[in-house]
């Protein structure tokens, strides 16, 4: 009947212990060979991080990663597992047992009843028990490696947790300033000034009551103009940004006016359509509604993020952006690049939008400042397009429809392509100058000219 050999247990236990000690020794040797390197790398990462101003988590993560790797390696190698024949052979050779341990280890895991194997295992067990495995595989000391690793790891931590680096300070300062600036903004107005609002309310009540004041006196045209002039002054009031309501007004969305102003504007519009009122009053109400609507328009294109602002500034410094900032509407607006050929063809025209109602930046881009792409035109594309235009413009190609020399000269002339003072996202409506005011004496005539007679 097959059975495990009695002496096999001793042999297995001895080989397992020897294997454990051997692996521990080998692991310790490798560990203390790798630990100083890992610690040095951590120090390097910490130093680089401090110099480059990386977050403190980077060096801490490097130290943690190195430590975790070493711990994981130790854990994986020290786990108990079946001793392989190769390991048994190596232990046998290192113990100088002449192959007896290897052979016995193999037989110890088998069943059987063979007196020869019994004898073999019995002799092997005696020899295994007589071996001091701890002496054969002494613990690795590696004091220098341990000290060096500890010192370098400590150094890495000190570097990581000490004063941040120079660039780190510089990098953090603008953000802090911006945040502070944002927090220090004055609270925006949510509605009109109280006195103006009162007057508008009174005016609306007057209109709804039939165009007479509370005392039965009709509102004169001069009073109306005074009211309109006051609405015009809204542009300069605090809380209004460049003549418009602050887009950061709580409760308002970009491009929308606050709810109270909207209701007020609606009431003004309705009043301007009331038939019981005089034409002057209706015009005044319509104008007031329009002014309120204009004033309450928000300006969504104003860059909020400092980085966006920086990008916009960089764009201005590009090869096309010769001017630092737009000085006037004329400087900002039209610089067209036209196809020099007579046929025109696919002309590439870049111009800023002049539509007041669009409310969008003119920007840069192929095909002009479209609503979406303006400001996102790549300078490389623009440069390529301009070079193409320049080359084509320089070419003396009269085309089929050129008949006269004068036309040809015109076409061939130095169509130097240039666009200057076109700043992406920099066009601000508030900087546009208003048309000259109509003289006081001619206002009635202008009104009557543009107003349909009923």
């Amino acid at each position: 009947m097959a059975r495990m050999y009695p002496a096999g247990h001793v042999v297995r236990a001895g080989v397992a212990r020897a294997d454990r000690l051997r692996r521990s020794r080998e692991t310790a040797r490798r560990l203390w060979r790798a630990a100083p390197i890992a610690a040095a790398l951590s120090v390097a990462v910490a130093g680089t991080s401090r110099w480059a101003g990386w977050p403190v988590l980077v060096p801490l993560g490097a130290v943690a990663l190195a430590g975790a790797s070493l711990v994981g390696y130790v854990y994986s190698t020290r786990r108990d597992h079946a001793v392989s024949d190769v390991a048994a052979a190596e232990i046998d050779a290192e113990a100088g047992l002449g192959g007896e341990l290897r052979s016995a280890h193999w037989f110890s895991e088998r069943e059987g009843q063979n007196p020869w194997i019994d004898l073999h295992l019995g002799r092997a067990a005696e020899r295994v028990q007589g071996i001091d495995w701890a002496q054969l595989y002494p613990a690795v000391r590696a004091n220098r490696a341990k000290t060096a690793s500890a010192v370098m790891a400590l150094g890495a931590l000190v570097l990581a947790l000490s004063v941040p680096g120079r660039i780190g300070i510089q990098a953090r300062t603008p953000a802090t300033t911006t945040t502070a600036a944002r927090t220090q903004r004055p609270s925006s107005v949510t509605s009109l000034p109280p006195d103006l609002q009162k007057e508008l309310e009174a005016l609306l009540k007057l209109a709804e009551s039939g165009g007479t004041a509370s005392g039965g006196k009709a509102l004169t045209a001069s009073e109306l103009r005074d009211l309109l002039a006051r609405i015009d002054k809204l542009r300069g009031m605090p809380g209004l940004k460049d003549g418009k309501l602050d887009p950061n007004t709580p409760g308002s969305k970009p491009g929308e006016m606050p709810g109270d102003l909207k209701a007020l504007t609606e009431r003004l519009k309705r009043a301007s359509e009331m038939g019981s009122l005089s034409p002057e009053l209706k015009d005044a109400f319509a104008e007031a509604a329009q002014k309120l609507a204009d004033a309450s328009k928000t300006q969504p294109t104003s860059p909020k993020d400092p980085q966006e602002a920086l990008a916009a500034a960089d764009a201005q410094k590009g090869p096309a952006g010769e001017s630092k900032s737009p000085g006037s509407q004329e400087e900002n607006s039209v610089k067209a690049v036209k196809d020099a050929s007579a046929g025109g063809g696919a002309g590439v025209v870049m111009m800023s939008s002049q539509e007041a109602s669009s409310g969008k930046d003119p920007g840069l881009g192929l095909g002009g400042g479209s609503a979406q792409n303006s400001g996102r035109g790549r300078m490389a594309d623009l440069g390529a397009a301009l070079r193409k235009e320049t080359i084509e413009a320089k070419t003396d190609n009269p085309g089929e429809n050129v008949e006269t020399e004068m036309r040809r000269n015109t076409e061939r002339g130095d169509a130097t392509v240039a666009y200057t003072k076109v700043a992406p996202r920099a066009f601000e409506r508030g900087r546009s100058s208003a048309p000259p005011a109509v003289p006081e004496g001619r206002r009635a005539a202008v009104h009557s000219y543009f107003t349909r007679k009923q």
Partner: protein, 329 residues
């Protein structure tokens, strides 16, 4: 059988083995390893091909071994005109006591325990092949009758590596049946002194009989009982397979110079000889070192070189040594 009895068997085996080799060594000087391996082959039941120049003691070794073992000995001098019947024997006509005649088988010199086939490569392949059945099956067939040879049966063949003219190299099948091929080297200067002192005196060196046939058979039984672990046996197999040029264990020299590698008989010889080596050490297990110790005599004559190997005069010993160095234990 108990482990204690096994231990006693091992000690008895070792004692006998040592006594045999020591007794042979009294007459044969400077060839301890050859004597050891020859006795190993005898215990294992194999045959030995001794190769060496004339005068180094090949025939004396065989003579001495027969004397020490108290075994029947015969010597066959192989010549080109030697016929198989001269080895095996033949039927001759005999006259009966009543005047009638009958055929009677006249045993040849093969009917002995220790047969010395001197200069075996001088006989024709036909005659050489007469030894095949005897070496493999320990029997000879004459006509319709098969005769069993006495055990232990050991063929010790010698051949001269220098005089190749007029010789018939042994075919591979014949070579494969030799357990070991031993090279009897020229003795050293110190050994020469001993040889001269022992052989130039008036009295020959006497040897005593320390074992007999049954003792050798008992030793053979003990040797085959030795346990061998599978990883050690696998090493013997890898060595054998590594001698084939298309084997994954083949070394560079094998791939370049070997035409055919060793047969499974080589692995048998490796393991069996290693067991005897282990017993000689007094151990009940076979180790890798035991395998390595017998690899050279067990493999060298079983490796057939290709044309390039023959042209470059590559020694099979070099190939086996490279195998020992290249195949992982």
């Amino acid at each position: 059988m108990t482990p204690t009895a096994v231990g006693e068997s091992i000690e008895q085996f070792r004692e006998r083995f040592v006594r045999i080799t020591q007794e042979v060594g009294r007459r044969i000087v400077g060839h301890e390893e050859v004597v050891n391996l020859t006795v190993t082959s005898l215990v294992a039941g194999g045959h030995v091909l001794l190769e060496g120049i004339p005068g180094v003691g090949k025939t004396s070794l065989v003579h001495t071994l027969a004397d020490v073992l108290h075994l029947g000995f015969s010597r066959i001098q192989f010549t080109p005109d030697l016929m198989p019947a001269d080895i095996v024997g033949t039927n001759i006509v005999q006259e009966g006591p009543q005047g009638g005649t009958f055929f009677e088988f006249q045993r040849g010199p093969i009917f002995a325990n220790v047969v010395l086939a001197d200069e075996i490569n001088r006989a024709t392949p036909k005659t050489q092949s007469a030894l095949l059945e005897a070496m493999q099956d320990i029997s000879v067939s004459v006509g319709r009758t098969t005769y069993r040879l006495d055990e232990p049966f050991l063929v010790l063949a010698t051949q001269n590596p220098l005089e190749m003219e007029g010789t018939y190299p042994l075919p591979e099948a014949q070579l494969d049946r030799f357990f070991f091929k031993l090279k009897v080297l020229y003795p050293s200067e110190a050994s020469m002194h001993d040889i001269l002192e022992r052989t130039t005196r008036d009295a020959a060196t006497p040897v005593s009989r320390v074992a007999d046939g049954p003792a050798i058979l008992e030793m053979r039984h003990v040797a085959r009982s030795v346990a061998i672990a599978r990883p050690v046996q696998a090493y013997a197999i890898r060595l054998t397979l590594g001698s084939h040029p298309d084997s994954p264990y083949a070394t560079a020299l094998v791939k370049r110079y070997v035409r055919y590698g060793a047969s499974p008989r080589a692995a048998q010889a490796l393991v069996l000889a290693a067991k005897i080596q282990a017993l000689n050490r007094g151990q009940a297990f076979v180790s890798i070192d035991d395998i390595r110790a017998v690899a050279l005599p067990a493999l060298r004559h079983r490796i057939l070189l290709n044309f390039e190997g023959e042209a470059d005069e590559v020694s099979t010993d070099t190939i086996v040594n490279e195998l020992l160095a290249g195949v992982a234990p």
